[in-house]
Amino acid sequence: MLNEFGIRVICMALYIVAAPLLGGLLDGLDRKISARMQGRKGPSILQPFYDVAKLTQKQLLSVNRFQLLMVMSYLFFVIMSGVLFFGGFDMLLCFFSLSTAEMFLILASTSTHSPFSTIGTHREMAQMMAYEPMILLTAVGFYLAAGTFQVSDIIEGTTPIILYAPGFFAGFVFVLSIKLRKSPFDLSTTHHAHQEVVKGVTTEMVGVEYALTTVTEWYENIFLFGVIGLFFVTANPLSFIGAIAAVLVVFFLEILIDNTSARVKWQMMLKMAWGVTIVTGGLNLFILELIKR
């Protein structure tokens, strides 16, 4: 029988190997579903992999070497957040690591002094301001519902967290559109072909740099979907099926929102995100506190 340490190591290794594959497939599925929603045939589901493979073959016309280093650090810290999460460690640590990763993305884009990436960076920081409170509250929500920040203990529960924390869940799904860079909040950069600030933070990323950024986003998405799944997981192994179903529903919902809404201004994004955070997260927090008394 495997001991707990063994299981943790296997989960972490699985994340490192499988997350980019799964993330890329989800990305391909996203493009396919989006195309079908727009009445087009759409590219192959493996298209994101072709794109990344091509990008690695392009000439590295980067403005400076610093950028590549920053992009690598971004990748490293995102992987770290996912590894900590799937290894069953402290949730707060995962989210802090994710914020650190974000800082490296900002450094990578500002290092070029390109006007487009500078505007993108400003917007990226506004986005961070918008979603960080909700992300941290989500961790608090898990703590209040399960009595621990440790992912390995949260999944040992008997009732799914969603029953205690539906408000935190709704808020997290809301800010997920910002994290997944989807409309109406794809301000700093978008996964679509282009926007009014060209490609925002990723404008100056060439060839392998852009490939790494894309792969990083896949890692990040899998981690975030993991958090969605965690709301549904209990000690019962069957709950994993429910968790996966929930993740797919949220994924579809995000694509639907993406295809049916236009971009908002960043002020609007801040107001909406904070509004939702206060209403859903705050209310849920309040009720949980009352119940616990």
């Binding site: 493009r31 195309a35 727009q38 009445g39 087009r40 045939k41 759409g42 590219p43 192959s44 298209q47 072709y50 794109d51 493979a53 091509k54 990008l55 690695t56 073959q57 392009k58 000439q59 590295l60 016309l61 072909a193 282009h194 926007q195 060209v198 490609k199 404008t203 100056e204 990323m205 060439v206 060839g207 852009y210």
Partner: protein, 149 residues
């Protein structure tokens, strides 16, 4: 890497076109023609582009712009001139400010004639460009390997 032709990203630049050809280029991305099924992405960023689509001729104002965009694109890259104006200067050829086709400032690989160029012929040109894109990449790889051994 064998399959870089599966992911050609386009950059469309409008020189001094009458907009006829631009509309046809955009028509290629609509549901009827849907070039995205070939993996084509209509990017607005030269840093990410593989194929440079230009409509309209070159005048003294956009000459530097075209050169700069071309230089910002990382290799391997392919240039496609779409429409008679981009190929030769077309109907505007004799105008005082027109220098001529795109090949007066940067090397053009594929010429797509027509006034306006039909979406079908533009897609045809893009498919040719994609093959050339792969070829340029293979050639570069071969050269690198030869230099190593």
């Amino acid at each position: 890497m064998k399959n870089i032709h599966k992911s050609p990203w386009l950059l469309h630049y409008d020189g001094s076109s009458c907009n006829g050809c631009d509309i046809e280029v955009l028509a290629c991305t609509t549901p009827v023609y849907d070039v995205e099924r070939f993996g084509v992405v209509n990017t607005g960023n030269p840093m990410h582009a593989d194929i440079f689509l230009i409509t309209g001729g070159i005048n003294s104002q956009n000459e530097d712009v075209v050169k700069q965009i071309y230089e910002q694109m990382p290799g391997p890259k392919v240039v496609v001139a779409v429409g008679t104006c981009a190929c030769t200067g077309g109907i505007f050829k004799e105008c005082y400010n027109i220098k001529g086709g795109v090949d007066t400032v940067i090397p053009v690989d594929i010429y797509v004639p027509g006034c306006a160029a039909r979406p079908e012929s533009i897609i045809d040109g893009v498919v040719k460009a994609v093959a050339l894109f792969q070829e340029k990449h293979d050639k570069k790889k071969r050269k690198e390997r030869a230099a190593k051994s």
